[in-house]
């Protein structure tokens, strides 16, 4: 099998020699690499199908790499295609995946094996043979990913915020949090002594792409959902060590210090359930079998005005929605129960956004140029500034603010949420705690 064929494939001696040179620098079977390379070209040329390709090498790949999930998951062309960054001699790290044990490792290891196998094949093929086909396939894949990429986030326009605290109340009501757990909060502050102007900072969890809380968690309970970037806590494994709270520079984490008295009341309004309380007429999964979310049929009637219960499990089966239990950490979930509800009118919404009377909060897919946050950012005046909170911490937050970031020495002032409110909430379980006071009150 030498020489170019009519499909423009390259199997000549030069190719063989080049392939052997390239494969000599990796620790895998040279012959297998060459065979993979040849058939990868045939695959790219349409001479054989993906299935044939996968089945032909399944056993060899398992022998060589210990795993081959290609046939079952249907690898994308990019996963086994040419990648100059990871190929031997490329600029990258030689194709190494993430370190073992890093969160979400399972998915990455699969990808790493596929990538390595792909590199092996591609290295044998050489750039000339497969580049064109790979580029075409990669382009197709990019188009596909553009549609599928999902990163929930928000654009919050501080210039519109009037600190009415509707978002704060709606959040607590939706998630049925204790009053002292403010997953959503509006900081009210003044910048310096020369102005009396009060400014506001609406602060949900920033759902950082590089969330320090996930790295600090000793049990991988705090995690970022790969499919949509929501940062969640698995309530069933959280040990309450509070490292996530220590690692977070935004102060968005709230431990359930005491037993929440109304934990069983995780409700929201307007979603009808059927009699079983599991799936409504639109096929939405609303489990009622889990402890703590048992439905009270006496209380809940099939009436669109009734309050109904959400599932505390996400669609992945992780107990991460609604209020945390005793001794467990909670924070804003981007209303994950809505995102997982399967209902078109709820997906892409949050409780805080729904109630904002000044349209300051815009929730949606930051990857989608048509989404509410992206559209809002497109619509703002050119002279309006935007920022991500404490961006220099390198956390890559997914909340984009319109307005001015509070300076380091901004002074908090008493707002609609009065000291009386604060102290009442703070002393709910701990009557002996010292009352708090705003700095301006002391002066």
């Amino acid at each position: 099998m030498t020489g170019n064929n009519t499909s423009g494939l390259y199997f000549d001696e030069e190719w063989e020699s080049d392939a052997e040179d390239r494969l000599s620098v990796v620790d895998y079977d040279t012959e297998l690499g060459k065979k993979l390379g040849r058939d990868a070209q045939r695959l790219a040329a349409g001479e054989i199908s993906q299935t044939e390709f996968h089945e032909k090498y399944h056993e060899d790949v398992v022998d060589e790499f210990g795993v081959d999930e290609r046939a079952t998951i249907g690898p994308t062309p990019e996963e086994f295609g040419y990648d100059t960054d990871t190929a031997p001699g490329g600029d990258g790290d030689g194709g190494g995946g993430p370190l073992p044990g890093v969160p979400d490792d399972g998915d990455h290891s699969r990808r790493s094996v596929l990538k390595t196998a792909g590199v092996l094949g591609a290295a044998a093929v050489g750039l000339n043979g497969v580049a064109g086909a790979a580029e075409t396939l990669a382009d197709e894949n990019e188009d596909e990913e553009e549609v599928e990429d999902l990163q929930w986030g928000m654009a919050i326009n501080q210039n519109n915020c009037i600190a009415c605290l509707n978002c704060v109340e709606a959040c607590n009501e939706e998630n049925n949090n204790t009053p002292d757990a403010l997953w959503m909060f509006v900081h009210r502050y003044v910048e310096d002594d020369y102005t009396e102007d009060e400014e506001y900072l609406t602060r949900p969890c920033q759902h950082c792409s590089d969330a320090p809380c996930t790295a600090a968690c000793p049990v991988a309970s705090r995690h970022t959902r790969e499919e949509d970037g929501i940062v969640l806590t698995d309530y069933e494994t959280c040990i309450g060590c509070r490292y996530c709270e220590i690692a977070c520079p935004y102060g968005v984490n709230y431990l359930q210090w005491a037993t929440p008295e109304e934990k069983a009341e995780f409700k929201s309004s307007g979603i009808p359930l059927d009699e079983n309380g599991e799936v409504d007429e639109d096929g939405i999964r609303l489990d009622s079998d889990e402890p703590g979310i048992e439905l009270d049929s006496e209380e809940i009637e099939l009436d669109s005005e009734q309050e109904v219960r959400f599932d505390t499990k996400t669609k992945d089966g992780v107990e991460a929605a609604g209020p945390p239990d005793h001794g467990v950490m909670g924070k804003c979930t981007f209303c994950v129960h809505r995102q997982d509800s399967g209902r078109e009118e709820l997906v892409g919404t949050t409780a805080c956004e729904d109630v904002c009377p000044t349209d300051a909060i815009h929730f949606g897919n930051l990857e989608d140029p048509e989404s509410a946050p992206r559209q809002h950012l497109d619509d703002i005046e050119e002279n309006e500034s935007t920022f991500r909170l404490l961006e220099d911490h390198g956390t890559e937050p997914n909340i984009i603010y319109v307005g001015n970031e509070p300076s380091a020495d901004a002074t908090p002032v008493e707002g609609p949420r009065t000291l009386e409110d604060m102290n009442r909430d703070l002393h709910l379980h701990r009557t002996d705690r010292e009352p708090v006071a705003y700095p301006s009150e002391d002066e």
């Binding site: 890093v102 602060r203 309450g240 060590c241 220590i246 210090w257 010292e434």
Partner: protein, 425 residues
Amino acid sequence: MSQRTDYSLNHLRSVSTGYVALLIVLLAATLLTLEAIIQQVQDGLVATDMAQQGTQAGATWGLYIGTFEWFAGMAVGALAITGYIRFNQLEQYQMVARLSNIWAFICGLSAAWLIIIDLGTPHRVLVILTSWHETVLHSPLAWDVTFVTTLMVFTLTMLVLSLRLDFVKGNPSLPIQTRILERIVTIGATPKEVPKLEEMRRWLGLGLLVLAFTAGMIPGLLMGVVGGQPGYFGSERGIVFLAAGLLTGVALLNLTAGVLRSLFSWRDALSNEVFRGLGRALTLFGFVYLIVLFNDVLPVVTDMAPFFEGRIGEAMVTGSLAPLFWLSVLLVAVPTLLLAVFKYRLGVTVQSIYAVAILLGVWIKAQLTVVEPLLFPNLPAIEGTYSPTVVEWVITLGAMAIALLLFVLALKLIPLAHRDTEVSS
């Protein structure tokens, strides 16, 4: 100068009234601590004064973590002392080596269970172990578990190895509980292995030293890992922890040796020379601690310091936390200076009192190190407060009482030196 007395194994046999009284007091303290722990487990961490940093105007961590740092530091210090004596084969300090070996283990244990107490859901602590392989690369607490486990394994190995050597070298009459211990640690032992055991003890000593000066810095570095809090991050965090650990380790040994000599008058194993050596170490590490402390604190009170760090430094040096900070400094600085001026010849009692002052001073600073950065949020929110509750105080002081109880019990089980020791005094 009172009459010279040699070390004997009588401490293993005799049970004085004072010993029984101390045991009762410590057992009562342990029961009280248990009651406080049960209350905390039932009610949740709401039984403490810890609260969310920011809108709850609290500190997320408190006495438990501060005292963990203190115990972990002492464990590292005691580990280093054991390693140093064993590696250099300083026979006149062999009792100090044994004492520090025992203390290293007890302090490591105390640090470990304080971490568990600090968890909101302590029954889930095993989840840490099951997730360890996934999280050890990035989680500070998983590192902590690794560090404390390693420390305890090493200290226990040294204890067993050195006891085996002592038992093989001589076979005095032993009380039943020590006899059982001897049977266990000398399984398969023969006198022929004495030279090998001596070499092993020596090189394991070097291992302990390496462990103390490398892995020993980990608990300090953990603060830097969660550098989102100003005041926690910094390249010197591990050094600060190690300096405090070495000082408290030496202070604990000074205090223990001082009390034991007062009680038993062992002037061979705990000679004046040994006390001068311990005093010299206390002075040296006192100065090291103070130098590291000032290097840690001073830069953040200059105008060039980043705002958040500067605010914390200011609170400590001149602000709301200044009384506690300066008290902690004085408790270390005054004894250190007096020891230096009087050339460690102030007597065993005075040296022991100084050791107590130093232990207290470093303990106070450990609390400040943990709590202070948490009181000042990054975003414009109220400055936090933290006043530990009775439950927290009982558990924290109880942890110290339980550590002492374990040591007092160890005195009835473990010989503190080889009986036939020749000491030049």
